[in-house]
């Protein structure tokens, strides 16, 4: 890649989401808007290496996209005879000739961007499609990069994107920010997509492709953009806080051989203090808004408790137990209950934790989940009930899918009875 194309790529990464959002507002269709934006990118690749990058590249791209689209439609109009399409295209032409991107106020651009986020994460689309479309239209990633990031094939991702755009067009999904009761539900989908992207990056190991590892940064970037666009939504700040604090541990979550290191065993000097501070600030923003914390805010508050402890022994487990209690009441998830039992065991002793586990031991979702016997074994060990602990670790070893973990669990099982 030459220096000029790298510079164009950088401008594209910065401008493409706003460009596509502005165009989608005019034409009411994100697929068409993306095509128009791509046309403008082609023009930039033709012109900029010789002429240099213009002073306001965003405005240049927008003007070029509009002009090229108008030219193309006029050309095609001579062949078009289907009345409906002509009427539609004429409306689009009118909208484009009238609208002046440079005159658009800042908050209008913000609204367009927000509408683009909501459209990419529309509940009509599958989860995979939402993620792919978000990374494509908001992150400016290529189809190949998305495929590499999610360990899939490029043709699958390409098809998924084509289908997603067609689904939105066929359903005539309006390009807008949802209001009222719909907003909450749709916002949930947006936050879920961003957190999925983050977790995919978090699961990547040190040796993996940078595209994959950069997913955490990309998710953080999307979350922070959303926090500026929708500052009154506490869960947006809650999610940003959660991601900032989790990202602060990125450098500590793997050992020298790539093996995962559990939170309490991590070298805390490797936690990134800047991201912890940013996470705590985002959490404060969530807490300052009216209403109790939602699931993301509560998880962030738990993460902040860990971040505050310089050593594992300084962890405020009583507060973490209370936060898990609140989280369990909202989510009703047995996994949350399991985590709560761990926290309660640390705060009030192993018997208290075991008592909680007894209440969830028949949950269908946990029947083949290795962490249930593993946590139970841990609490039994702390209570001095070594034979029962050994049996639980053996049971956990049978259930886990991970070879390395199985070895560790069997070792712990033997240690109890030796």
């Amino acid at each position: 890649m030459t220096e000029a194309t790298r510079a164009i790529e950088a401008v594209w990464r910065i401008e493409s989401a706003r460009l596509i959002a502005g165009l989608a507002r005019m034409v009411g269709d994100v697929g068409l808007a993306e095509d128009m934006a791509q046309d403008a990118l082609v023009a930039a690749i033709e012109k900029w290496p010789a002429d240099g990058v213009p002073d306001n590249p965003g405005a240049w791209l927008m003007a070029t996209a509009k002009n090229r689209a108008i030219d193309r439609m006029r050309r095609e109009k001579t062949y078009e005879r289907k009345r409906e399409e002509v009427a539609h295209d004429t409306g689009v032409l009118f909208a484009m000739e009238r609208s002046d991107f440079e005159a658009a106020a800042d908050d209008e651009i913000g609204d367009d961007l927000l509408a683009l986020i909501f459209t990419c994460c529309h509940p009509l689309l599958s989860r995979e499609a939402r993620v792919a479309l978000t990374l494509r239209l908001l992150g400016g990633l290529t189809t190949g990069e998305i495929a590499r990031a999610f360990l899939g094939s490029e043709s699958t991702v390409a098809q998924r994107l084509v289908r997603a755009k067609r689904t939105l067009r066929d359903a005539k999904v309006p390009f807008e920010v949802p209001r009222g009761a719909e907003l909450e539900e749709r916002l949930g989908s947006v936050l879920e997509v961003i957190y999925l992207v983050f977790n995919e990056g978090y699961a990547a190991s040190a040796g993996e492709d940078w595209v994959r590892r950069d997913l955490c940064e990309e998710a953080l970037r999307l979350g922070r953009i959303l926090a500026e666009l929708a500052p009154a939504e506490p869960e947006v700040h809650g999610l940003v806080a959660l991601m900032e604090i989790q990202a602060s541990r990125l450098g500590a979550r793997h050992g020298p051989d790539g093996e995962p290191v559990l939170l309490l065993d991590q070298d805390r000097s490797r936690w990134d203090p800047l991201l912890i501070v940013r996470g705590r600030q985002a959490l404060e923003r969530a807490e300052a808004l009216p209403g109790p914390l939602g699931p993301y805010g509560l998880q962030a508050a738990i993460a902040a408790c860990h971040a505050r402890a310089l050593r594992p022994g300084e962890t405020d487990w009583v507060r973490i137990s209370a936060l898990y209690d609140a989280l369990a009441q909202i989510s009703g998830s047995p996994i949350v209950e399991l985590n709560r039992a761990v926290a309660v065991g640390m705060a009030f002793g192993p018997e208290a934790g075991l008592e909680l586990l007894d209440r969830i031991k028949d949950e269908p979702a946990l029947q083949n989940y290795h962490l249930l016997p593993s946590v139970r074994g841990d609490l039994l060990e702390k209570a001095g009930r070594t034979e029962e602990a050994s049996a639980e670790f053996e049971r956990a070893a049978e259930l886990t899918q991970n070879e390395r973990e199985r070895g560790l669990l069997l070792k712990r099982a033997r240690l109890q009875v030796d």
Partner: protein, 126 residues
């Protein structure tokens, strides 16, 4: 990846009095960085005469001096720490800074992984 953008105001120290217009333009620029989700932290620095220097000799012995100062043109006036996806993206953001008469140096921040394992092991921070 992270980049530090050091801003060097290429003006004399007595001219470090920005106009309201310049401050407003810089505010808009900072807001753009913030809205783009790139800005991690930033600060403006007071003139060098409000600070000092620490120099080290061959035995790493520190000496504090309060001068002489290099020309104001050669010292950092402020910085932005940003997250960017490439050096080119960081450079593009730097070139959008609205301030006339300044130079911006863009530097990539070291990450732990950039160091060999024994160096990583020796680190007890932060």
């Amino acid at each position: 990846m992270r980049f530090m953008m050091f801003m060097y105001p290429e003006i004399e120290e007595q001219d470090w009095n920005p106009t309201p217009e310049a401050v407003a333009a810089m505010g808009r620029y900072n807001e753009e960085l913030q809205k783009a989700g790139m800005l991690l932290s930033m600060d403006g620095l007071r003139p060098p005469s409000d600070g000092g220097n620490v120099v080290f000799d061959a035995e790493a012995k520190a000496t504090i001096t309060d001068g002489p100062f290099t020309e104001a043109k050669e010292v950092v006036g402020g910085y932005w720490l940003i997250q960017a996806r490439s050096k080119e993206e960081a450079l593009e953001w730097a070139s959008r800074c609205p301030d006339a008469n300044c130079r911006i140096e863009v530097r990539r921040v070291f990450e732990m992984e950039d160091f060999p394992q024994e160096v990583q092991d020796a680190y007890e921070g932060p």
